[in-house]
Symmetry: C2
Subunit: 272 residues, 2 copies
């Protein structure tokens, strides 16, 4: 049986990045695509809780089914796995995103959200992004890399709870692929305030990206700056084990008791 | 100068959990509150990108300012830090959430999103949640613990890029506090399909929580089941270092070159 690959994105079902990905992955298996009916950039791993979601079948042909969905990227993956697919997919893929999801930007990414949701269901998962926000960006140079990485994961599988976050630089020739860690970065001057005609302010999100570790050579930001395809393995378990052990040592049994905490209600103690 | 504490949540500015938190933390410092104007449960670390956001000042008194915001929980934190606050807060706090954010649920949590956004700005941050979805839940038993943990973080600080995800069980007496790792769990039977009057289906999110590690005694799920207050330290850098090193070894220099990838475009190789 051919591999079954579940695809989604956060730029919406009509985005060029998703439709390029469909063409790239068709040789590798049967594709089931379900993606938001509109742009949901920055959706992270959000889910729709206060309202129900609906779907619409857009394409159905040999080896390819496409749905649009009113939900978030994570909703799309959830719904496909719970209600729409007859068997478990062999791979869940998000993308190809129009714009970077490298570094700590992964926390905001709906594309990474797709892969995270796949991993939350115990499935191997990949998020692909190109560092080009243009809605007509050229995705064709990515083709051999996208296929190679997907093929690798289909053959090797992934450890439970892990995903690959793959980012492509905008470059005439790639320097190769590099496996990296998530670099620390931040955004500065994030909002532009504007005056409403009737008074009051509104705020547009934007900002400037700042690499907090410009001298570190093992980050995804470093690799992308040097025209490498950056492959960053991420995991669902983001426990800070170092801090966990440190805090365990600081917590004396004495300070743990409910009674003790109750007594000191009015005067917080200096130890936990 | 008194500590400055920035508060937000994902249940909306009028939620009892947030307003209980305000009363609990007032003795510890000056509070600046900015929270979504409506429920944004499941917002994760999502941000509002396609439209601007607006704010409304609801309260302003000695030591307490409250705004509502049309954006997500993460937007609220971003906007406060970039546009509204005159100085950096000493602590960012999300909550108190109505419902669990333990285990892998943290990935969906707007409350954890608040703390994540704080950490993305280099600030110490805590997310508080009570395992009770009732909008009139009783938060008063949490008071000494919420204060004690906030006081601990204000005094000790936090390592860069780390947050505390604190979950409270529903219990008459807490067994104490326990520092835990994020447990693996999943949701089953997540959607209830319904028929639209005019034909077609819509889907309500729900589902049953499944603890994937019932025999492990170091998880937050285990601690909560035994009436402990569960403190789970999380970090922004969720690189899977074990997989990173494994993949680095598998990637031969040969297979990295762009030319090689190009050549094999039509026939993906079995190695990366």
């Amino acid at each position: 049986m051919k591999p079954l690959i579940l695809l989604s994105n956060d730029d919406g079902v009509r985005a060029k990045g998703l439709n390029s990905l469909i063409e790239m992955l068709r040789p590798l298996g049967d594709l089931f695509v379900i993606a938001p009916d509109r742009g949901r950039s920055g959706a992270s791993c959000s889910i729709t809780t206060p309202l129900p979601i609906t779907i619409k079948r857009l394409r159905g042909e040999e080896g390819l089914t496409v749905y649009s969905c009113t939900g978030t990227p994570a909703d799309c993956v959830k719904l496909a796995l719970d209600q729409l697919l007859m068997r478990q997919p062999d791979l869940v893929v998000g993308g190809i995103n129009h714009g970077t999801n490298a570094s700590t930007n992964a926390h905001y990414s709906g594309t990474v959200g797709v892969a995270t949701e796949g991993a939350l269901h115990g499935l191997p998962a990949i998020a692909y992004s190109l560092l080009d926000y243009d809605e007509d960006a050229d995705f064709s140079p990515l083709t051999p890399y996208v296929r190679r990485i997907a093929d690798y994961v289909l053959r090797q599988g992934m450890p439970y709870g892990s995903i690959l976050n793959v980012n492509f630089p905008v470059a005439e020739h790639y320097a190769g692929m590099k496996v990296c860690r998530m670099g620390y970065s931040r955004w500065e001057n994030e909002y532009t305030p504007c005056e409403r005609p009737e008074g009051g302010r509104y705020f547009w999100l934007g900002g400037e990206f700042v690499d907090d570790e410009p001298d570190e050579t093992d980050t995804d930001v470093w690799a992308l700056d040097r025209d490498y395809v950056a492959i960053t393995p991420l995991k669902l378990d983001n426990t800070d084990y170092q801090l966990l052990h440190q805090m365990e040592n600081e917590l004396s049994e004495d300070s743990l008791s409910a009674d003790k905490a109750g007594e000191e209600q009015q005067e917080p103690s200096s130890t936990l």
